[in-house]
């Protein structure tokens, strides 16, 4: 992944706009934390970044390829290089855990016309499931797992093909503190191992700030902060300051 660049992104020009002129530039290998109050357009921005939603104006460029104007085959090729962890996991509920995790790998092989060695796939799946601590659950269905287990399966699936860009949408929403710590530990190990570019959204700002060296804040569809995490708490913008410190008094 060379470069991800977003310029003057617009979505839904109704009032108030959901995204209004957002511009971002993310270098390869960076970890970016995306935060902001509820309904500020975070999830939508992620979906636009990976080409699931087409913006009404502006450009999204990955490696110099504009996702908004490229062919659907090229878009699919780019998408299969992105790993995405969905907010509600989006596990395929008709497939077992092992099939879920191996799905991206198999689909990529089909696309590239490669025949996969079945034993290799099985071993790789086992390895990944062991890494997230679920090696014994390979043959279960997602409906038989707990919330934290499902999140870990989704995580294993998102990073299965060693994507160059990984997007995490609320990786710890609704989980208890211990499970949250475990998930962040997994994310950290994954990042250090692969050196992938990471974009992460979370409403747990504290955990997010300890994970990402660069923070981006969205507020009412506009970019309110983009810079190093350390400087955020002392930002001149009262909105950003209040949000990060979690104060009751302020413009929010």
């Amino acid at each position: 992944m060379q470069l991800l660049e977003v310029r003057k992104l617009h979505f839904n020009p109704a009032v108030p706009p959901v995204l209004d002129g957002v511009s971002l530039r993310i270098e390869p290998g960076q970890t970016v934390g995306l935060c902001g109050p509820g309904a500020s357009g975070k999830s939508l921005l992620l979906k636009i970044l990976c080409g699931l939603v087409r913006p009404e104006g502006g450009r999204v460029e990955i490696d110099g390829l504009d996702l908004c104007t490229c062919s659907s085959a090229a878009l699919r090729a780019v998408q299969s290089r992105i790993g995405m962890l969905f907010q509600n996991n989006a596990l395929f509920d008709s497939m077992t855990v092992a099939d879920n995790v191996s799905f991206p790998l198999r689909q990529r092989a089909i696309q590239q016309g490669i025949r996969l060695d079945e034993a290799y796939v099985r071993q790789l799946v086992h390895e990944r499931l062991r890494a997230v601590g679920l090696a014994d659950h390979a043959d279960k269905l997602p409906s038989q797992l707990s919330g934290g287990q499902r999140k870990r399966v989704a995580l294993a699936r998102a990073v299965m093909t060693r994507p160059e860009l990984i997007i995490y949408d609320e990786p710890t929403a609704g989980l208890d503190p211990v499970t949250t710590a475990r998930i962040y530990d997994l994310l950290r190990r994954e990042r250090d191992e692969t050196g992938a570019t990471v974009i992460i959204v979370s409403s747990d700002v504290e955990a997010l700030m300890s994970f990402a060296p660069r923070m981006v804040m969205l507020y009412r569809g506009c970019l309110r902060y983009d810079g190093p995490t350390d400087a955020m708490a002392n930002s001149p913008d009262p909105v950003v300051r209040q949000f990060v410190r979690g104060e009751l008094e302020g413009p929010l």
Partner: protein, 255 residues
């Protein structure tokens, strides 16, 4: 008003896209191994009993009503079986089976695809580089194409059998007189098969489209399923009307 037109144009464009992608996917060789068999089982096996029961009852009612009317006028019941077999083959067998499949299969497809949409599973498919229409709708399309034909044949046979039983038990028409296929022409069989294929193609595409258009939580899935049932049933009625009309004018010479 302008807004309504824009919305309809949008729906038509997206529907055409689904149709084009489905047809292209159906013609291409690359397919998920085992998925087609699974869908054939889903569409066929799980609708078999439903089609047999409903078509059986329909056969009984239709013969009963016809005999009742003929008894009122001429009382000559010897031709009922032959005419019933003919109309069953080119009209009631395929169309009523398809009406049943529109509720059974159409609602099933929309419910499945719709709940995959609202739980973001379709987005997950796309992120794996998979075109959802190709992965979800094409196998169902092929399965439905085959199974509508098979189930129509089953339904026609069951309806004919139950009709014969009714004619025998309520009006004393002997089975040897009732079961008479001499009036069934090649044109009737061809019309029946064309209808089956048209319904079999329309039901999964329309209900799959309704599923893909689902938005919002469980309410959205419910809405999508409702729309799938209504739209695909209505499509069956319109297709029936069109194909019957064409068949009537092209085959009228042969009777």
């Amino acid at each position: 008003m302008r807004w309504a037109w824009l919305m309809m144009a949008g729906v038509a464009r997206r529907l055409l896209r689904v149709v084009a992608l489905t047809l292209r996917g159906a013609l291409r060789a690359r397919r998920e191994p085992g998925e087609l068999q699974r869908q054939l089982y889903q569409v066929g096996n799980r609708s078999l009993l439903f089609v047999m029961v409903t078509l059986g009852f329909i056969g009984m009612v239709l013969v009963f009503q016809t005999c009742l009317q003929i008894n009122r006028v001429t009382g000559d019941l010897s031709q009922v079986g032959a005419e019933f077999a003919k109309i069953l083959v080119h009209e009631f067998g395929p169309s009523l089976t398809a009406m049943m499949l529109a509720t059974r299969v159409g609602a099933g497809i929309a419910a499945e695809v719709g709940s995959m949409i609202v739980t973001e599973q379709v987005d997950a498919l796309r992120m794996c580089g998979v075109e959802p229409v190709e992965y979800l709708i094409v196998p169902r399309f092929l399965a439905s194409l085959v199974m509508t034909l098979v189930l129509s044949i089953v339904g026609t046979v069951v309806a004919l059998g139950m009709g014969g039983l009714t004619a025998y038990s309520s009006f004393h028409v002997p089975p040897s007189v009732f079961f008479d296929l001499s009036r069934v022409r090649l044109g009737d069989v061809a019309t029946g098969i064309i209808k089956c294929l048209a319904y079999g193609a329309a039901i999964p595409i329309i209900s799959g489209f309704c599923g893909l258009e689902a938005r919002g939580g469980s309410e959205g899935v419910g809405w999508a399923t409702t729309r799938a049932v209504v739209s695909s049933s209505f499509a069956v009625i319109v297709l029936d009307f069109l194909i019957s009309g064409v068949a009537f004018f092209t085959l009228q010479a042969s009777g």
